[in-house]
Each structure stands twice: as structure tokens, then as C-alpha cells.
Amino acid sequence: MASISPDNHGLRLAVRYAVLILIALIFVFPLVFMVMSSLKPAQQLLADTASLRAFLPVGDISLDNYARAFQRAPIGLFVFNSVLVTGLTVLLCLAVCSMAGFAFVYLNWRGRDLFLSIILATLIVPFETIAIPLLLLVSKLPWIGWEGVSYGWLNSYRVQIIPWIADALTIFLFVQYFKGLPRELIEAARVEGATWFQIYWRVVMPLSGPVLATAAILKFLVMYNQYLWPLIVVQQEKYRPVMVGLQYFFQLNIAWGEVMAYLTMITLPVLAFYLALQRAFIASIASTGVKG
């Protein structure tokens, strides 16, 4: 038993890889199918599902489905909306949450510990349990615009951005990270007469690359994939993001070729981004598992 012959070792290695590859196929096949189907006319798409051709770019391959998808829905507008909402929210979130983290770690102020524990307590409130009361709230909130004061935030960009700027998880990530930075740096800068904002902007932020990347990736995934919230607060096409735009494609008779084309268009950029930065993505998820 104790001695393993070289053959045996090679066999075991082969089995290990076979298991890994089989599992990989389970995770990959729907995505490969999506991309391949987007290139095929409807009839061929259905016929190909009976064989491995479903996963191969064979037969009558074209970009027709993409052209038709663009005719069916204002895809450019949806992409613009998603990019705008996601981009602005991520930037504002990084600013607001890193400042809060800074205050919780480096500054002593009355109420600090109380507020930190209240914020962390909100981690166990799933968004889905506050969506309906929040819908009522934003339908009444005032807004000061160019034409003076108006009420109600429904059908706007702000209703998709402002409620999502601050969240407990991002603040928690910054707090954890800042706790690990050498405190002497901050105190030295203070002795030299730097203002708190200068310390935040010139000392702490330049050292915060890793946590900024983590927070940005997590927030990006949440915002770009947002569905429930825009579904209930945005009825006008003008402000719809890509995920809600999907509804144009699953009406009575689903044209699967066009659906696959749309799914590919809104998914491939994210997948490419992920594959390019996969270590950073996985590290961000892993860092949410580090309990303080």
C-alpha cells in the first residue's frame, strides 16, 4: 500500500484532471451555448440542440441576430444608462465609503462606535426586505432641480444611483483595510501640520489601491447586474438599464436567436473584464469572507 508505482501516480493524476475538466464543462456549457446560438438562424439553433453542434460555430453563421436585436430594442440607450448609473455609483461609493472608513478608524469623535455598530447591523437586512417601503419613500422625496423643487424620484437616474452609494459592506472593507495601515504615518503627517483632508487624500488614498479595487469590483457587479430595483422604479424606456431591457426579448414568442445575441452583448464585456482580472475578482470575494 505504501509504495505507489509511477504508473499508478500518473493514472491518479489523470483521474484528477478528468474530474476537474468534467466539472468545468458543467460551468461553461450554458455560456458557450449562448454565444454560439447567437450566431445561428432560429431553425438551425433549435435543430442543433440535439447534438454537440449546439456548442460549435457551424452551419449558417452570421451576425443577423445582432442586427435584429438592435431593431427590436434601443440597446445603445440601455447600455449607456447602465454604464452611467454603474460608473457614477461606483465612484461615489468609493468616495463616501472610504471617507466614512477613514473617520471610523483614524478619528476620535463622539458617537463613533455607536454609529459603526449601527451600520454593521444593517448587513443582515437584505435589500429585498426594504425594497417596497423604499419604493414608497423615493416616490415622495423632494428634489431641487433647475425648475425649482419637485417631488418624487421615480423615472430618473438619481433614483438608481443615490440609494446605492453608501453600503455597510463597502464601509466594512475600508475599515478592515485602514486598520492594517501603519498609524504612525497618519500621526506623523498630523504633526507636520497636514489637514485631515490632506491626510485622507495624500497619505491614505495612495496606499489604498488594493481595497479600492476590491470595493470597486464588488460594487460594479452589484450595480451592473441590478434588476429588482430598476424594475420597480423606472417605467420609462429613457432610463432603463440593460437587465430590465431584457424584457423586450422575453415576450410571447421568444426569438431565441435575438435573445442569445442580446445576452451575449451584455455579458461578454463583463466576462472579458473578469477573465482579464480574475485574480482581483476572486480576491475581492474572498476578502468579504475575512471576518473582523
Binding site: 476537474l20 460551468f27 450554458p30 465609503c97 466614512a100 437584505p126 414608497l136 419613500l137 451584455i266 471576518k291
Partner: protein, 356 residues
């Protein structure tokens, strides 16, 4: 830790205020709002003023009774039977609409079971809510352990020291970055009764013996199909959390186990698993919270059907609060949901506590 240099009320407040204010307005306020609204008849838009109705919404949703019915008998005392020979029971409608039983007014049959010749009929004031409640709990109780367990197996697999292992890790994680809405629509095709990939695959594996199933159109398979897809999408997320837990376990412990001649199972049982205690709590709580929030899959794949077999609490909360503009009804479901999330998180924490 505190020193004079870092004491500054004004700066502290200035830095923290935007974050605190946003969380207060958009998370904490609506959270308490949900409790308050559930005690009213608030609608999204209404000409009538909102009224306080106390626990009425909860009574309307949660009322359940059991009726014990004896079979109908004819004048001779024989049990009446229908054409198929089954005993005939009084109609539920005749009871819930009868002036003799005002307490059952408006209730409908949820399900029934028989003990001897007596039929026990469970009636509920809000049958759809009850089905949503049971479906959601079923989903959580199946998905949490299965997804957590599979994620751990995957984590152990990709924690091996093999060439190219990071590639496999990256592939297993891939569905996590794809929107659940996209995944749901994609799987709607995979589960489709005509030309769906799953039926074709099963038929190929059994050499044609497998009869095609309408996975999402059959009340018995719709919820399991959604469970399978949800696990496929999210398991990589928890694999990564398990993996980060695995990597905190000191290699010297494994070396010691090897020297002691521990088997693979013994190493897992006495070295790996004890080192994963905190990770286990976290994984279970996160999966539970995500599972309770089940919405997009339902909205895209089944819209609660067939026969309410995939209704869920969040889907009902949105259907009422947004679809029917019944904010108080949606808020009541939200409160019930939150209390369940809280209860299960506390329970898991207690079950996996450190034993002294």
C-alpha cells in the same frame, strides 16, 4: 488606541456624515418604515387617506384553520361515493360562505389530507402567501446545505497543488459574474420542453429511454429546476469563501497529520473542518440570506407558476407592493421575511457556536 492627535469631533463628523446620512435615509428608515406600513392600509397612490389598521394585514395573511370533515351520508347512513368510488365530502365553499361560520369567511382550501374517512382540510385566508412561504422555506432548506456542501467540495478540489489549477478555479467562478437575470433566461431555454438542452442530454445519455419533461411547466419539477440553476450560478461564490478559509489553516497542522499517518478523511475531519468553523457560519448565513431573496429567477422563468408552485415571498412582496400598488401588503411580507432571515441567522449562529 486613542491619542490626542486623532481626536476631532468636527473632522470625524464631516468625514462620516455622508455615509451615515445615506445609510440612515435609504436603509434604516425604510427598514422601520416596513414595520410601520405593515400596520396601515397604505397604497402607492391613493385618493383616500391612509388608515391605521393594527394587525389586520398580518391576520389576513397568516390566518389558517383546519376543518375536519366527515363524508356525506345518504338517508340510510351509507357514505356517498362519486363515480370513481371516492367518498364525497361537503364543499368547502359552502362552509366559508355560510353565515353559520363567520370565522371562516373568505378563506380558501390550501391542501387536505385524510385520516381514516375523515378529511382534514387546511384552509387559509391567503393561500398564495402560504404557498410562497412554504416554497421559500423549501428553497432555503434545500439550497443552503446543498450549495454550501458542493462549494466546499469544489474548494477542496481547487485547493490541490496541480498545474493549471487557477484556470479551473477561474472557470468554476465564472457564472458568479454573470447576471442572474441573464442566467435565468439562458436556463429557460435549457429547460425548455421542445429542443431544450437538458432533455436532449438526458435522452442521449439513456439512449432515448428518457421521456422529455417540461421542467418549468410542471408543478413538481419547476421549483427543483430553479434550485438547480441557482446553485449552478452561485456555488462558485461560496467556493471562493471556503477557499479563503482553507488557506488560513496552517500547513504545519497538515504536516503533523501526515506524520501521524492520518487518512484523508481523518485529516479532513480533525484538521480541515475544525479550521473552517467561522467560514461555515459565514457561508451558511450568506447563502441563507441570498436564498430568502429569491426573485429574479422567478420573475424571468415562471412568474410564480405553474399553479403557484414557484411563488416566493419576495416575488409576492413585489407583486403586491409594486404590481398592485398595495404598499402595506408588500411591507407586511417584507417584515415576515426579515423576521425569518433574522431567526435563521441566529439559529445558525447558535448551532455552529463554539462549544465550551
Amino acid at each position: 488606541m486613542s491619542s490626542k492627535l486623532t481626536t476631532s469631533n468636527r473632522a470625524g463628523w464631516a468625514f462620516a456624515a455622508p455615509g451615515i446620512a445615506l445609510i440612515a435615509v435609504f436603509i434604516i428608515l425604510p427598514f422601520f418604515f416596513a414595520f410601520a406600513l405593515s400596520l396601515t392600509n397604505q397604497r402607492l397612490i391613493s385618493p383616500n387617506p391612509t388608515q391605521f389598521v393594527g394587525m389586520q394585514n398580518y391576520r389576513d395573511m397568516l390566518s389558517v384553520s383546519v376543518l375536519r370533515l366527515a363524508p356525506d351520508r345518504d338517508d340510510a347512513g351509507q357514505i356517498q361515493r362519486d363515480a370513481a368510488g371516492a367518498p364525497v365530502y361537503p364543499r368547502i365553499r359552502d362552509i366559508t360562505r355560510s353565515p353559520d361560520f363567520p370565522q371562516y369567511r373568505g378563506m380558501r382550501e390550501w391542501f387536505r389530507f385524510h385520516m381514516g374517512e375523515t378529511a382534514h382540510v387546511v384552509i387559509a385566508r391567503d393561500v398564495v402567501f402560504m404557498k410562497a412561504l412554504v416554497n421559500t422555506l423549501t428553497f432555503v432548506l434545500v439550497v443552503a446545505p446543498v450549495q454550501g456542501g458542493l462549494a466546499l467540495i469544489l474548494a477542496l478540489l481547487v485547493n490541490q497543488k496541480l498545474r493549471g489549477i487557477t484556470l479551473f478555479r477561474a472557470i468554476y467562478f465564472m457564472p458568479v459574474v454573470v447576471s442572474i437575470v441573464v442566467v435565468s433566461l439562458l436556463w429557460r431555454f435549457i429547460y425548455s420542453p421542445d429542443g431544450g438542452l437538458l432533455n436532449n442530454l438526458l435522452s442521449a445519455l439513456t439512449f432515448g429511454a428518457f421521456q422529455p419533461v417540461n421542467w418549468l411547466g410542471n408543478p413538481d419539477t419547476a421549483l427543483p429546476a430553479i434550485m438547480g440553476m441557482s446553485i449552478w450560478q452561485a456555488v462558485g461564490f461560496h467556493m471562493v469563501i471556503w477557499l479563503s478559509g482553507l488557506q488560513t489553516i496552517s500547513p504545519t497542522l497538515y504536516e503533523a497529520a501526515e506524520i501521524e499517518g492520518a487518512s484523508k478523511w481523518q485529516t479532513f475531519r480533525y484538521v480541515t473542518w475544525p479550521g473552517l468553523r467561522h467560514t461555515a457560519v459565514l457561508v451558511l448565513i450568506v447563502i441563507t440570506m441570498q436564498a430568502f431573496a429569491l426573485f429574479a429567477q422567478i420573475d424571468v422563468m415562471t412568474r410564480g407558476g405553474p399553479l403557484d408552485s414557484t411563488q416566493t415571498l419576495v416575488f409576492q412582496a413585489v407583486e403586491r407592493g409594486y404590481g398592485k400598488q398595495d404598499i402595506s401588503g408588500g411591507a407586511t411580507i417584507s417584515v415576515v421575511l426579515f423576521l425569518m432571515v433574522l431567526a435563521i441567522s441566529l439559529l445558525q449562529r447558535w448551532l455552529t457556536r463554539e462549544r465550551a
